[in-house]
């Protein structure tokens, strides 16, 4: 159970090696923290990260988790809850970017992206919610993206998975009203991280640390949606209402 200041005792990262997920875990660390669970595909990579987080006070557990293996999600989350007790904050941090042009012309790669970013995220979210509802409290943080707010041609497969996920998370949040379970939707812009390494950064790009700070602030304030950086919210209001003829021609990559 988190305390009155929203300092969680147990933090779970689905996508345990995600730069943004780890930055959020570090930002949430407080004297109240007891355990961090890194659920990830690559156990070796997870173990490396765990070593850097582990202290006398904070136990770090690495658990095998694969986004596409939706059949395992229920068991994975149930085992985490059985071992660690109440899950205070669960961050849905996994996701793939894909190479825009390649994915567009490669149906299989596109389908795999959708399986991870949307299908896997939907399944993992609902498996998490089963646990959170049983405990009557807890927050699921869903890493959405501004890319889903108006999908652009340069990475429309990725953008569409995030659009789907964002819509799912909004509906989930409404469906959970009154259960004690909260959903926080985070919509970052371009984030400098392992996922975007080598890509040219657009204006208003940000860092995992800044996304984490905005996320934790949003958690404390009980927000439903966090835009980070905040300037992207008015920008995307304009983008959403830009006529197609112009939108198509915008040099947004």
């Amino acid at each position: 159970m988190q305390n009155a200041f929203g300092q969680p005792q147990t933090i779970v990262l689905l996508g345990g090696t995600s730069d943004i997920g780890l930055a959020i875990a570090r930002e949430l660390l407080s004297p109240a923290t007891r355990s961090i669970v890194l659920a990830c595909r690559d156990l070796d990579a997870g173990e490396k990260v765990a070593t850097s987080l582990r202290t006398d006070q904070v136990g770090v557990d690495v658990v095998h988790f694969t986004a596409e293996d939706v059949e395992s999600h229920g068991d994975v989350l149930a085992e985490i809850a059985a071992k660690h007790g109440d899950l205070d904050v669960v961050v849905l941090a996994f996701g793939m970017l894909g190479e825009g042009d390649v994915t567009a012309s490669d149906p299989l790669a596109a389908a795999r992206l959708a399986q991870v970013n949307f299908t896997g995220a939907v399944s993992a979210s609902l498996a998490t919610v089963v646990q959170l509802r049983q405990q009557g409290h807890g927050t699921l943080v869903v890493m959405s993206s501004v890319a889903g707010e108006r999908v652009r041609k340069g990475n429309f497969v990725y953008g569409s998975t995030k659009a789907g996920l964002d819509g799912f998370a909004q509906g989930l949040s409404d469906w959970l009203a009154g259960t004690g379970v909260n959903v926080l939707i985070v919509r970052p812009g371009f984030v400098h991280s392992a996922m975007t390494r080598g890509l040219k950064a657009p204006p208003f790009s940000t860092t995992p640390e800044k996304v984490a700070a905005a996320t934790v602030k949003g958690l404390g304030a009980g927000r439903r949606i966090v835009w980070t950086p905040g300037i992207l919210r008015p920008i995307f209001v304009v983008f959403r209402h830009t006529p197609v003829a112009i939108w198509r021609r915008l040099p947004l990559g």
Partner: protein, 472 residues
């Protein structure tokens, strides 16, 4: 959601008085006779009884589990005037009880700063009041209780029949069973008025001195400290000390109705207040200044009513709403005598932090009782209310916890909303002893609360309890 037995269940979001950190539970309104049947329905998240929800943090919450609301009033209380005891339902409030016994010339042995607490809650938190230095805490005056155990049986517990269970239940935060009714010793009084002495004290050191010298001459004593004041005003305070007024002290008019008692609310805070509440640094500073200025430098033997002296905040209904959406956090700790310096450093840190602390109360505790998890111990206790949204408050309190522990002190379960299992283990060295008794009466882990999970007071039995639930 409805269940087969004759009681109804509804899902509700619950918080403590501080209105922080909600969790959702199945809330069941029960009569004493239904408690066992209701508890049988509990699953892996267990059950807990909740009184009037006046503990500040998560002590009376049980997210995902059952929360029992025990119906109770003092109308069936049985007063034994010869033995000076009353037997009263665990779900009855001190308010109910006072309305019956004051007119008969008796007072409760201990009252906290509000009368909106149940008898069961007063025992489970082993509450204290302004009289601790003389009278000790609530458990000191408990004669016996009937306790509904996890297995459905009801046992009569007194300090001679089962001293372990008696003292594990006093201060046991509801984790040993449900207190169905209790017999407590009462205090005979000659009138319903209080004779009160008030002194304005310039700083913290003078306050320690004054309280150390002659606190014991008064049954009740507590000081209000202005923690917003800095520099040479640090720790300026208003000390009020009182006793139940003798009949002779009343004027002729009051002598006609010496036991008149009619407490009422002056006003109630509406449910809608601004998002950030009304209490911020500016309003609290202004309030504290006014409070200090309006207090007389010295005033002796002023007659006050019971509610004016003991329960001033009860005059404003739902005052916790003044803190707005972030709610409030109360921090209360005790440090032993001789650790005045630690108290001073804590006060300095709070004052320097700029946190707007409204109504800090300093009090001298007397002897501890035998309850394993009872909070009071000889020393100084400070309680302060702060807006839950204050920046950096979480880290500040974790820091203060270490100072308090290093001084041999501890903090109070009924107020706690932030601390950690490690801090509790240092502050309550008899926790393991208590846990052994708790395990004896609740081996399958029926009694659980958000507080018990957060502070790891009882082992989690998820595996056993799931099995048990699946058989039913």
């Amino acid at each position: 959601m409805s269940r087969s037995a004759g009681f109804s269940v509804s899902r509700k979001s619950l918080t403590g008085w501080g209105r922080t950190n909600p969790s959702v539970a199945d809330v069941v309104e029960v009569l004493k006779s239904d408690v066992a049947a209701a508890v049988k329905e509990s699953g892996s998240r267990g059950a807990l009884v909740r009184g009037l929800g006046r503990s500040y943090g998560d002590a009376a919450q049980n997210g995902g589990g059952l929360v029992l609301r025990l119906a109770g009033s003092a109308s069936d209380a049985s007063l034994d005037t010869a033995a000076r005891t009353v037997t009263v339902s665990g779900g009855a409030s001190l308010d109910d009880l006072l309305r019956i016994i004051v007119r008969r010339g008796f007072f409760v042995p201990v009252t906290p700063g509000t009368r909106s607490v149940t008898i069961g809650g007063a025992i489970a938190s082993d509450v204290h009041g302004k009289g601790h230095h003389v009278d000790g805490s609530f458990g000191n005056h408990l004669v016996r209780m009937s306790l509904q155990l996890a297995d459905g049986s009801v046992v009569q517990v007194s300090r001679s029949s089962d001293p372990e269970l008696f003292w594990a239940t006093v201060g046991g935060m509801g984790l040993t069973g449900v207190i169905l009714d209790a017999t407590i010793h009462l205090l005979p009084i000659e009138s319903s008025r209080m004779a009160v002495d008030t002194h304005r004290i310039a700083d913290l050191d003078s306050l320690f001195d004054v309280m150390s010298v002659d606190d014991d001459k008064h049954r009740y004593s507590a000081a209000w400290i202005d923690l917003v004041a800095k520099g040479r005003h640090l720790g300026r305070s208003v000390l009020t000390r009182g006793d139940h007024a003798h009949f002779d002290a009343l004027d002729a008019k009051a002598q006609v109705t010496p036991f008149e008692y009619d407490p009422h609310q002056l006003a109630s805070v509406p449910p809608l207040v601004p998002r950030h509440g009304f209490l911020n640094h500016a309003t609290v500073t202004a309030f504290n200044e006014l409070w200090f200025r309006k207090a007389p430098r010295h005033r002796l033997c002023e007659l006050q009513t019971i509610s004016e002296f003991f329960h001033p905040l009860d005059m404003i209904g739902s005052w916790n709403r003044l803190y707005g959406r972030p709610g409030l956090v109360q921090y209360q700790f005790v440090v032993p005598f001789g650790e005045e310096d630690t108290m001073r450093r804590v006060v300095e840190r709070l004052s320097a932090s700029g946190v707007a602390s409204f109504l800090a109360v300093l009090k001298r505790f007397g002897a501890a009782n035998d309850a394993h998890l009872s909070f009071p111990r000889p020393g100084w206790t400070l309680a302060l209310d702060m807006p839950g949204g204050s920046k950096g408050l979480g880290d500040l309190l974790h820091g203060l916890d270490q100072m308090v522990l290093d001084a041999g002190g501890r903090n109070y379960f009924a107020k706690d909303a932030h601390t950690t299992p490690a801090v509790i283990r240092r502050g309550y060295p008899r926790l393991a002893e208590w846990q052994a008794i708790q395990q004896r009466v609740d081996p399958t882990g029926v009694w659980q609360s958000d507080l018990s999970r957060r502070l790891e007071l009882v082992p989690t039995h998820s595996a056993t309890r799931v099995r048990r639930a699946s058989h039913t």
